[in-house]
């Protein structure tokens, strides 16, 4: 009876209402895109500095909050044109993210440059809590509404009448997917084709070697953390446009970790594929199997999938195999 419930019934359900299946798949892909974006931020920093930036998630929230916060201040100062205020706020927020990148590089990374990676990892814990405290202090703990309209982001639904039912696609999600693809392609090209991209890859391989050929570690790190900050900002805008902007730490950053394990910590395509797999897997798992185990298994399901992966293929689907030489 139980075996039936696990292995047969969910598929029967899927077949019975294919429009629901497609809807669930779509929801999964949408969630996956957002995970992929967060993972992308991690991958950028990890690729270039070998640091796993635990604070990436909070940077997403921070970026979004700063944007809304600056917007509200501008409106209060009398800039009546909403769209103008929105884009000015956007520009200023990008500036803030740069300052953040610069600050992090100077204060956290530079002093720790020769320490083992685990120390840098722990330093990003400190950064996370600092940003949470700081963000809550400046913006207050209540949640805010993303200025999606003012930024010309689309609203509303497209309803597809297919497969005997209706599948609703939110326009904002389509926009998110498009924006994400553009960003990912841009970044991939940047890494492989430009001089700075090459320098980034050199730094990721070995700090000391990169230094010895004259690459300025400081510059590269600021660039990378800034790029990551921009990705975080875009993620925050998209995420906030779908729901609201608040400090739910667990939800955001930690969800991205299984994505990275699946996709490999150093691979941009890996982040995308991993994100989509986890997104779809979680949604399907929760919807069709969740009844068995109780709701809310998505809090740990992704981690278990990732754990299994770690045991058999530690470098992820796309990562580089690690050879230890004595």
């Amino acid at each position: 009876m139980l075996l039936y419930k696990i292995f047969i019934d969910p598929f029967v359900q899927m077949g019975a209402a294919p429009d629901l299946l497609v809807q669930t798949l779509w929801e999964g892909l949408v969630a996956g895109v957002l995970y992929a974006l967060i993972a992308l931020g991690f991958v950028l920093i990890f690729k270039a500095s070998g640091v796993f930036n635990f604070a990436q998630g909070i940077m997403v929230v921070f970026g979004a909050l700063t944007l809304v916060g600056i917007y509200e201040i501008l409106v209060r100062w009398g800039i009546s044109q909403e769209n103008v205020a929105a884009f000015v706020a956007l520009g200023l927020t990008i500036g803030v993210m740069f300052l953040l990148a610069f600050g992090v590089e100077r204060i956290v990374l530079k002093p720790l440059v020769n320490q083992p990676d685990i120390i840098l990892f722990m330093a990003t814990f400190g950064l996370t809590y600092f940003l949470i405290g700081f963000g809550e202090y400046v913006f207050g703990g209540s949640s805010k509404i993303m200025i999606a309209d003012q930024l010309y982001l689309p609203k509303g639904f497209i309803d597809l009448k297919i497969l005997g039912g209706v599948v609703s696609l939110q326009k904002i999600d389509i926009a998110a997917a498009v924006i994400a693809s553009v960003m990912v392609t841009g970044l991939a090209l940047f890494f492989s084709k430009t001089r700075i991209g090459r320098a980034l890859r050199a730094v990721a391989d070995s700090h000391k070697a990169a230094l010895s050929v004259g690459i300025s570690l400081d510059q590269i790190w600021v660039i990378v953390w800034f790029a990551s900050g921009l990705v975080a900002l875009v993620t925050g805008i998209m995420w906030g446009a779908r729901s609201e902007v608040s400090f739910a730490l667990e939800v955001i950053a930690l969800r991205a970790l299984p994505v990275l394990i699946l996709g490999g910590f150093t691979s941009i395509p890996g982040a995308i594929v991993g994100g989509l797999i986890i997104g779809v897997g979680e949604k399907l798992g929760d919807f069709y199997w969740g009844g068995l185990l109780g709701r809310g298994i998505e809090s740990w399901l992704a981690y278990f999938i990732a754990l299994v992966f770690l045991l058999f293929r530690p470098q992820g689907l796309f990562g580089e195999k690690i050879i230890e030489r004595v």
Binding site: I118, M122, G126, F130, I132, E250, S299, L307, L310, L311
Partner: protein
């Protein structure tokens, strides 16, 4: 001048290997124990005990637990909160099933439940290392927290989802529940923590501590000495989780008096980890110092500024505490990765040659 070893000769290896070879250190420990067991309960008021001393000793124990795993063995764990929770819920169930057994027995026995779970989630350490292992511990954290909420048997099908502690006695004196005085609870907690600290100290100064530190410093070389990695790492998980489990049980039974699942969240895990980092990775003394520092900080922020004439909102206290904590973590990792314990050692060094500068 005061803190000198001159004249203290060791005539056999046993005394050379003593944990506190210097007489002044032994006197210092005796004094601290005297203060802890006698002075504090006698002179301390209810507030001091309930809000400061009891949680301090309990968190110190949890910090020692995590330090054994992360500081001594080098296995970063983000699941401390969950392991504490396992201890708490295990104790609760044991008490429910066998209400007539002394609660202290169950508090300690709960550690074994925690140890078993710790070993289970430590198994991946055979194949994965470093922060990948940390991610495995995160899996433990989320999964166990989900269990605390979704398995009603754990909280006796209570509709609120919370566990509550009734009254238990020892020799007729209530030690848990609303009737237990803070002094009693403090002394029980303190006794358990002191004994367990003594065990931890013995472990780390002997061959097991060496094994753990060898695995931390260079596990390939440790294997070369014949140290088998998986049993060593699993032992670290087991002992560490035992300590965290007992701390969790004490947290609920001797301090809060009840609990909900979100007491044992990932924030708790980070809280304890920060205590380890600030206090000093790989130091038992550091565990106490770190616990004191991180725990007292928000209390300090809540009460001192108003006394100095600067009113401060309770919400702001939390925000500023987070900021200071985060900043301190970064500061300690940069400046003194061995934490307050190392600073204390340096101070002692200076004291040894005082009044000369070096």
């Amino acid at each position: 001048m005061l803190y000198r070893e001159a004249g203290q000769f060791k005539t056999n290896y046993a005394s050379d290997q003593a944990i506190f070879p210097i007489l002044q250190d032994r006197m210092g420990i005796a004094a601290i124990l005297l203060v802890a067991f006698v002075v504090v309960p006698y002179f301390g008021n209810d507030f001091l005990l309930q809000a400061i001393m009891i949680p301090f000793v309990i968190f110190s124990l949890a910090t020692i637990g995590l330090n054994l795993l992360t500081g001594y063995t080098g296995l970063l764990s983000l699941g401390t909160g969950a392991f504490m929770g396992v201890g708490a819920y295990a104790c609760y169930k044991l008490e429910t099933l066998f209400p007539n057994v002394n609660i202290i027995v169950w508090i300690v026995a709960a550690g074994f439940a925690s140890a078993a779970v710790g070993v289970l989630f430590g198994l991946p350490s055979l194949r994965i290392k470093g922060f990948y292992l940390a991610i495995a511990t995160l899996a433990a954290q989320f999964f166990l927290q989900w269990c605390f909420v979704r398995i009603p048997w754990l909280f006796n099908y209570n509709t609120s989802g919370a566990i509550e502690v009734g009254t238990h006695t020892l020799f007729g004196i209530p030690i848990t529940g609303p009737n237990a005085s803070s002094t009693t609870r403090y002394l029980i907690a303190l006794s358990i923590v002191v004994v367990m600290t003594w065990f931890a100290s013995n472990l780390v100064h002997g061959r097991i501590g060496r094994m753990w530190m060898a695995v931390r410093d260079m596990d390939i070389a440790a294997e070369l000495m014949g140290i088998r990695l998986l049993p060593t790492k699993l032992l670290a998980f087991a002992v560490s989780s035992f300590y965290c489990g007992v701390a969790g049980a004490m947290l609920v039974f001797l301090w809060y008096g009840g609990a909900e699942a979100d007491v044992f969240s990932i924030n708790q895990s980070f809280f304890i980890l920060f205590m380890v980092i600030v206090g000093g990775l790989g130091s038992l003394l550091g565990s106490y110092l770190g616990a004191a520092f991180i725990f007292i900080l928000p209390i300090f922020l809540r009460y001192v500024p108003p006394h100095l004439g600067m009113p401060i909102l309770p919400a702001t206290v939390e925000h500023i505490a987070f900021m200071i904590t985060g900043g301190l973590i970064i500061f300690f990792l940069i400046v003194e990765p061995n934490g307050l314990a190392r600073l204390w050692q340096i101070a002692k060094q200076k004291l040894r040659v005082w009044p000369f500068p070096y």
